[in-house]
């Protein structure tokens, strides 16, 4: 029988994930020297890179739409970068999930924009109807941002989603383009949205796909290891390549460089192989300690592993072990 994680390690993991959730409160991090870099993806799409999660920007005659907002401390720099791309108002912010490194700037950037309103709505509500950009997210993002989490208070109300969805998909139309939000039930968290820009063939994955660390499975936030794999396969179903594994769909990961299908295939290979190994070890009755000692991630550690920061290789293996043990029990 596999033994469960120790209480101490669970507490450490929980603390680490609370840290993620409250990343907007990282007062100790110095943002003064952070620069916001802009990378053009298509004629009217860009990726902004700073200190938090990547931001995807779509601009056009309808206005500006953002996917994620990084940290609150970077909002002025982000707004300055956006103003270089378009003078049009910011109408939409889409959140890929609730973590502060992706939603911390919601309140500030929302204030800088406005919601498209008119007719009866504007007549009934007046100026309030168009106050601030709309923040679109899965409903679980609203629930998590609006509730205290452990010792962390709820996020500022001005940064909460204003336009949520409950099902596994939401469709939008903006700047002459269909935009589809897909919600995998339990992946990085339980409130993830994969944002697919259909005409531009660009996908913003949030932290379902990151290039800088092992997959972050926020178990306290409703995440699941197998759910991550399922979500990655769901993204791959949306992508095309020009030839081989190159070109075609552009993929903006939650963190790290711009990617395409080939990069996501490599990532899927990594998480699937590590899953296979850990599941095999669980089936053999190995304890978490024994699994760690067997180094199931040895071959990928040079790419994704670290012994420092909140999401160490050990933290990843612990979360994987716990999540996959639960999946194994259900079967």
């Amino acid at each position: 029988m596999p033994t469960t994680m120790t209480k101490a390690s669970l507490l450490i993991l929980a603390a680490a994930l609370v840290t993620v959730a409250s990343a907007q409160n990282r007062g100790q991090q110095n943002f003064d020297n952070v620069e916001i870099h802009t990378l053009q993806l298509r004629d009217n799409m860009y990726m902004l890179v700073g200190a938090g999660g990547n931001i995807t920007v779509q601009v056009g005659k309808d206005g500006v739409l953002l996917v994620d907002t990084e940290y609150a401390q970077l909002s002025n720099k982000i707004l300055a970068a956006i103003r270089k791309l378009s003078p049009e108002p910011i109408h939409y912010i889409i959140n890929t999930h609730y973590h502060g490194d992706h939603t911390g700037g919601n309140e500030n950037i929302r204030k800088a924009g406005n919601t498209i309103a008119g007719g009866n709505v504007a007549g009934d509500l007046g100026a309030e109807a168009s106050e601030g950009a709309a923040i679109v997210a899965h409903n679980n993002v609203l629930l998590r941002l609006s509730m205290p989490n452990g010792n962390q208070p709820a996020a500022p109300q001005g940064g909460w989603p204003t336009d949520t969805y409950l099902s596994d998909m939401k469709k939008m139309w903006f700047n002459g383009e269909g935009i589809v939000l897909f919600h995998p039930e339990h992946a990085h968290t339980d409130g993830d949205s994969i944002v697919y820009f259909k005409r531009n063939d660009v996908i913003a994955t949030g932290d379902i796909f990151t290039m800088t660390t092992y997959p972050i499975i926020d178990l306290n936030g409703g995440g699941s290891f197998q759910g991550m794999i399922d979500a990655v396969n769901q993204i791959l179903d949306l992508t095309d390549t020009v030839y081989g594994q190159d070109g075609g769909t552009l993929i903006v990961p939650g963190h790290g460089r711009l990617c395409d299908t080939g990069d996501l295939l490599n990532y899927r290979e990594m998480i699937t192989i590590i899953r296979d190994r850990i599941v095999d070890m669980i089936h053999k009755g190995m304890t978490l300690g024994q699994v760690k000692a067997a180094h199931p991630t040895l071959d990928y550690d040079p790419l994704y592993g670290t012994s420092t920061g909140f999401w160490t290789t050990d933290a990843f293996v612990e979360a994987a072990y716990k999540s996959l043990s639960q999946t194994a029990k259900k079967k």
Partner: protein, 294 residues
């Protein structure tokens, strides 16, 4: 008379200037044309393909070896892997190439050198105009981003922004952090193409290999279409791989060729002459004596 003399002088100067103008500012040679790949070197490793568990000659680290041991050849039967191209640092192991040069119309300065590989029909650009490499957060590709410079008659190319690839196509990985230096050395109708791979993730030393080409006067390159098909029906998301300690194919190469296990597993120390003493001391080469030291 003086006037005629002066006109002649001017004409001579112009002719001299025109002649000098045809000489490149830095030494450079013509690489354009179709080049035929010679396969005499490392033949079994190239067309036939490397054997499972043969990591000889590769300064790989423990992580790379562990990953290679997990590699299952069935992986390349997956539809999404069937048309995966050989990365630019591996593609020169086989197939003919066409090289052509791109000049600025007005200044006649060399802007870029392009290479088309027959294998998988890939094309790459080597920028010669001094442009910088893209930032870290830019996209990587199978061909990478290359810039070149002339070092005497040798074209030296630096490539980064590579997508993850392979050192050997039996599972030995090359990471997307690798930086590749290449030398293109022309000897009349011969071309030697040297590839040097530095990979901080999977190699402990620089991996070096060379390939040779011969100029082809009437060379043509055929197209290389690739369309994936469903070769094996599998559940969605399956990635063929060997769990640690279960790959029964790893010893075949050692057994079939009488190669010491330590040598077959590669690593920097196996690349140096001193390793020969280890082989002799082991004295177990499946009945085969070690060959002459090259």
């Amino acid at each position: 008379m003086d006037e005629v003399h002066s006109v002649r002088k001017t004409a001579c100067c112009l002719l001299l200037l025109a002649t000098l103008g045809a000489v490149p500012l830095s030494a450079q040679i013509e690489l354009a044309g179709v080049w035929q790949n010679k396969l005499h070197e490392d033949f079994p490793d190239r067309l036939a393909g490397p054997e499972i568990g043969d990591y000889t000659g590769i300064p790989l680290n423990a992580a790379a070896r562990f990953r290679a041991e997990a590699w299952d050849a069935s992986l390349i039967a997956l539809p999404e892997y069937q048309c995966r191209v050989h990365p630019s640092d591996y593609a020169n192991s086989f197939a003919d190439i066409r090289i052509w040069e791109e000049y600025d119309k007005d200044t006649q300065s060399l802007v870029a050198i392009h290479i088309h590989h027959f294998a998988w029909g890939t094309e790459r650009t080597i920028w010669m105009d001094g442009r910088p490499h893209p930032p870290d957060y830019a996209q990587h590709t199978s061909m990478g981003f290359s810039t070149g410079k002339w070092e005497g008659d040798i074209l030296t190319v630096t490539t980064d922004h590579l997508k993850e690839g392979w050192i050997r196509r039996n599972g030995v990985p090359r990471s997307d952090r690798a930086v590749v230096t290449e030398h293109f050395i022309r000897h009349e109708n011969g071309l030697t193409w040297v590839v040097m791979i530095k990979d901080p993730a999977y190699l402990t030393e620089t991996m070096i290999r060379s390939r040779d080409y011969v100029y082809s006067v009437a060379g043509q390159i055929a197209p290389y279409p690739c369309e994936s098909v469903e070769e094996v029906i599998r559940p969605k998301g399956v990635i063929p791989n060997h769990l640690p300690g279960t790959n029964t194919f790893l010893k075949e190469y050692q057994k079939n060729h009488g190669v010491l296990q330590e040598g077959a597993m590669g690593g920097a120390k196996t690349l140096y002459p001193d390793f020969r003493q280890t082989v002799i001391a082991a004295g177990d080469l499946g009945g085969k004596a070690p060959g002459p030291l090259q």
